[in-house]
């Protein structure tokens, strides 16, 4: 069976780069095709019919035509543009951060429906939620789960022995919690408070509504951020570029996180 010449898909625009005079190459995350790249012609001209329908962080219905290298977007209609997200500086950059995460952890043409739903839902959450940091942590944890890096939080990731209800250790290289015994053999494992472990365990298997009921203070929220950041850095073998900017924004604004 030959693939049809034109096809339709929902997509979330997660990245764009300029191409030539007025075109763009878009990176799209779709429910059935996973990550794909496509060309949006003329979108940098004011009169482009695609225009705002293919703007970053927009959920759109697209019509594409197969091209020799990249497919070409022929029509676009916005499903949701997350307007409340786009009117707020912190929300915009949180949205771009989760887009960078998806882009960094996925290869093209691998379907991952749960990841698409998570991304879509998270953009909705970021548009409304009071606690944007919590949405980011929940997103990171679930993303890692859906792409095969679900951290082991129930037993020691090394010897499988049950964990003591106390401060344990998180090891990025073992992908989970280590008991005291095993942590001695791995000096780079970082201490993880019992509270942080409880929150991560809960988030690993609950929905947003439940997750957002967790009350975090500044200390706990910063601990969760650090442990997830280290694990992500270990898996990608690099720091995500957006994190430096998110840190700077957080430092400058005086809102409690």
């Amino acid at each position: 069976m030959t693939a049809p010449r034109v096809y339709q898909t929902e997509a979330i625009i997660i990245k764009r780069i300029k191409l030539g005079e007025a075109d763009r190459i878009l990176t799209l995350y779709t429910p059935e095709l996973g990550k794909i790249k496509a060309v949006a012609k003329g979108t940098r001209r004011p009169k482009s019919k695609l225009g705002g329908h293919v703007e970053l962080l927009t959920h759109s219905l697209l019509m594409l035509a197969r091209g020799r290298n990249l497919d070409i977007i022929t029509q676009a209609q916005t499903i949701d543009n997350f307007l409340p997200l786009k009117d707020d500086l912190e929300r915009i950059y949180r949205g771009l951060y989760i887009s960078e995460l998806v882009d960094s952890f996925t290869a093209e043409h691998i379907e991952n429906r749960r990841l698409f739903d998570l991304l879509l839902n998270s953009l909705h959450q970021l548009s409304q939620a009071q606690n944007g940091e919590l949405v980011l942590r929940y997103f990171e944890l679930r993303l890692l789960d859906y792409i095969g890096y679900r951290p082991q939080l129930q037993r020691c990731a090394n010897c499988s022995s049950p964990l003591q209800p106390a401060t344990n250790f998180f090891s990025s290289s073992q992908g989970g919690i280590l008991c005291h015994e095993c942590a001695y053999q791995e000096p780079i494992a970082r201490p993880l408070s019992l509270n942080a472990l409880k929150v991560l365990r809960l988030w690993q298997d609950c929905d947003y509504a439940t997750a957002s009921r967790v009350k975090t203070n500044r200390e706990l929220s910063s601990e969760l951020e650090q442990v997830m950041r280290e694990y992500i850095k270990y898996l990608l073998e690099r720091q995500l570029k957006s994190t430096a900017w998110l840190d700077k924004l957080k430092q400058e604004s005086h809102q409690p996180m």
């Binding site: 030539g20 970053l56 543009n81 307007l83 786009k86 500086l89 950059y93 957006s242």
Partner: protein
């Protein structure tokens, strides 16, 4: 393009490779341009080489507004007739041209040389933000017009600039965002339409 294994003289391979690096020039066009230059008279090829050297040697950035210029300060910053109380902030030097063509704006400019793009590692330090703020500190400027592009990165950069400039008590305006002239309402997306509604005016 890898020209290492091509059975051509080294200088030819080198020129093809250089052309291939230019925007919009693929391997085929790079070869065509190279072989074209091989058969033109020497003066013609030298004129091209000189023109390329000249743009690099004689053009630099204005030390005030960071527009591309052959004199420092640039003609716009030097012009006493222009309104030195207004600064229009744009992303790239090329954005000044369409604004000048309107002949409606007589103030000065400030070129940021990009927008904040966290996933490319571009923040305010990589752009001319500090330089803009120091221009605003002399008390002469009364209005800053934010003319970054009306897309997500342009809007976010404008919002961030607004946050930085607001404490200085200077009037901050943003180019009206609305429907493109000659465009159809039918094709407008909701963001454009809702911004156009917000910015509606008495007739």
């Amino acid at each position: 393009m890898n020209t290492n294994f091509m059975p051509v003289a080294e200088p030819i391979a080198k020129l093809i490779e250089e052309f291939n690096k230019l925007p919009g020039i693929g391997p085929k066009s790079a070869q065509r341009l190279t072989y074209y230059l091989l058969q033109v008279p020497a003066e013609k090829a030298e004129a091209l080489a000189e023109a390329i050297t000249a743009v690099k040697e004689k053009l630099s950035l204005c030390s005030i507004c960071f527009n591309i210029t052959d004199s420092d300060p640039c003609v716009i910053c030097r012009d006493e007739e222009r309104d030195h109380t207004k600064i229009c902030v744009v992303e790239e030097p090329i954005d000044i041209l369409p604004l000048e063509r309107t002949k409606k704006y007589k103030g000065l400019y400030h070129v940021l040389h990009g927008v904040i793009a966290p996933s490319d590692g571009i923040g305010p330090e990589e752009l001319k933000f500090k330089e803009l703020l120091s221009r605003l500190n002399d008390g002469l400027v009364t209005e800053v017009i934010l003319a970054t592009n009306p897309n997500l990165e342009g809007e976010a950069t404008a919002m961030y600039l607004q946050r930085l400039i607001a404490p200085l008590g200077i009037r901050i305006t943003r180019l009206a965002r609305g429907l493109p002239y000659g465009g159809d309402l039918e094709y407008a997306d909701d963001v454009t339409l809702s911004r156009a509604l917000e910015g509606r005016q008495e007739m």
